[in-house]
Homo-oligomer: 333 residues x 2
């Protein structure tokens, strides 16, 4: 694993802190053909978790972040991950309360559960002086992700590390942070519907034929090569998912039309973000990104689906300690 | 496709030539997990084809290169590919005779059929003033490869272009020549048996489960990333084929023992070359390569299988016009 914690915010002094706010970016999992193994953190909204010391041991959920999210710490991604951090540290007598600021849409396919989980793990770990390394934080957050979304790291790993990440293996943990072409932009469009991760997973085929498996592998491999060259144009036509997208597209009204519109508008490629319903396009530069965004929104609306969207860059920083705004420096005592 | 013909040998003057000798290197197809999509040209023996003008139209097979190879041009890889070159040029009245120098083992898994096919295509094309580009030469040779071995380019493309090549797609043709870490060595061991490509292909599973497909893709993607970084150590443990190797290993007495011996001797990884029976190990540097070669040969012999082997580098040159030796300059009239 490639680690670089220098961007993770100011050091937290265990003697003076009383609260830590950790921010985790949104991410695109299942990046095109990279089902479960390729993901990218993106700039813009994310989830934040404020962790404060609490008098009674265990994890207390002060604010779940959204009226529809569970108030029971046993079922909230941030709290599950935070509890797993306490367990891994062996801090059985420590109490921590969590307040979640939910910036990502629920069941949107933008890595919301992963951002909540890793921000929870990161905040508690930072509050306690950061005894755990990235490896353990990922596995702690995976306990939560597995319970609420599925056992995969393609959102968690980029949300923590930033950038584009290849998850070669979970056991043993083998992840690679790839480089990102500077001109790469993501257009993320969120149609006004929800799709539960579990439902999106249920339609995946249990088996694929050998030519399909190898074509999918070839597309992923070419994407990895293209990322490495830094030449974003080499991604054109390669975002070719033959496994998840054909199975999930029928669940997503307007997606096929939006994808066609994105390609026609000059996007390098377009597919479903995570398990959907959000769609993403990969685009060369800001100008083409704006054009692609407009075309995709129009296409969704013409298909009878209201939609919102935005243009993002690769978030190279990943999860970090970050005060909410300058007048509220919660890291000071 | 990345083209660089500067290494392909001296220009052939159509007015003065009467013969061209093209040499194509051996190659490892199915490079570890890269079934049908990843291959590497290697230094050492290869196949050569001498093409000469002939009075009667069509391809004439003067010497098939081996007593067990067909004398009928309709069934010999070099001749099939050469005929396809004539067809693509539209040279219906041209006659060419071919003599094959077979340096690679028959049914060895070292890309022998691909080397014969591409050398045949290349020699005839060069003899006629090189009207066809790499793209057409590959597709001409693919006609032969498909007839004698199967419709795949993972030997043909590296044999033509040199280096490590990712075959993303045959239709449309999309191949990428990857970079090769300087310290990369191949240990190639040929046990004293044959395995027909068709038999090796018959045992492949028609379907794979989704986790296996994605694990295979992840391994291929990490190999591509490792090649790009130039750091050969990043290949360690990644040459992990979950599809072809488990199906084919039972056909190959001694392979499991040789693979274990290779890993124990410090190899980065080990798998079956092409469809077998040859095995290959990828190794960091000459010293480890020598140790790995000795260990693999010992293991085969201990398992009751005689074997020969060698250490090779990546052949960066690919197919080229090359006189057999200085005193026999067959390119002059």
């Amino acid at each position: 694993m490639i680690r670089d914690s220098s961007h993770r915010g100011p050091p937290v002094d265990p003697q003076t802190r009383s609260a830590v706010r950790a921010f985790a970016p949104g991410s695109i999992g299942n990046l095109g053909p990279g089902l479960d193994i390729l993901g990218c953190a993106i700039t813009g909204p994310g989830d934040a978790v404020v962790a404060r010391m609490h008098d009674s041991p265990g994890i207390h959920l002060e604010d779940p972040g959204h009226p529809e999210l569970p108030r029971d710490p046993e079922h909230h991604a941030s709290a599950i991950a935070a509890a797993e951090v306490l367990r891994r540290i062996g801090a059985t007598s420590v109490g921590v309360s969590l307040s979640i600021e939910k910036g990502l849409p629920l069941s949107g396919g933008q890595g919301g559960s992963a951002a909540s989980a890793i921000a929870g793990a990161f905040a508690v770990n930072a509050l306690l002086g950061a005894p755990l390394q990235d490896h353990d934080l990922l596995l702690a957050a995976l306990v939560a992700e597995q319970r609420v979304a599925g056992r995969h790291l393609d959102n968690l790993a980029p949300a923590l590390l930033g950038g584009i990440v290849l998850v070669r293996s979970i056991e043993p943990l083998d992840i690679v942070r790839l480089s990102s072409p500077a001109a790469l932009r993501f257009v993320v469009v969120h149609p006004d519907m929800r799709l539960r991760t579990a439902d999106a997973r249920a339609v995946l085929p249990p088996h694929v034929d050998l030519p399909t498996a190898m074509a999918q592998a070839g597309a992923i491999a070419k994407m990895v090569w293209a990322f490495g060259t830094g030449d974003v144009e080499r991604l054109r036509g390669v975002i070719d998912d033959r496994i998840a997208e054909p199975a999930r597209a029928p669940l997503l009204p307007g997606f096929a039309e939006a994808k066609k519109a994105a390609i026609d508008a000059g996007a390098l490629g377009c597919s479903i973000a995570g398990g959907g319903p959000s769609a993403f396009a990969m685009v060369n530069g800001d100008h083409a990104a704006g054009r692609t965004l407009a075309a995709m929104l129009d296409a969704y609306r013409a298909a009878g689906m209201d939609a919102t969207g935005r243009v993002a860059r690769v978030d190279e920083r990943g999860t970090r300690v970050e005060p909410s705004h300058p007048t509220n420096t919660i890291n000071s005592a």
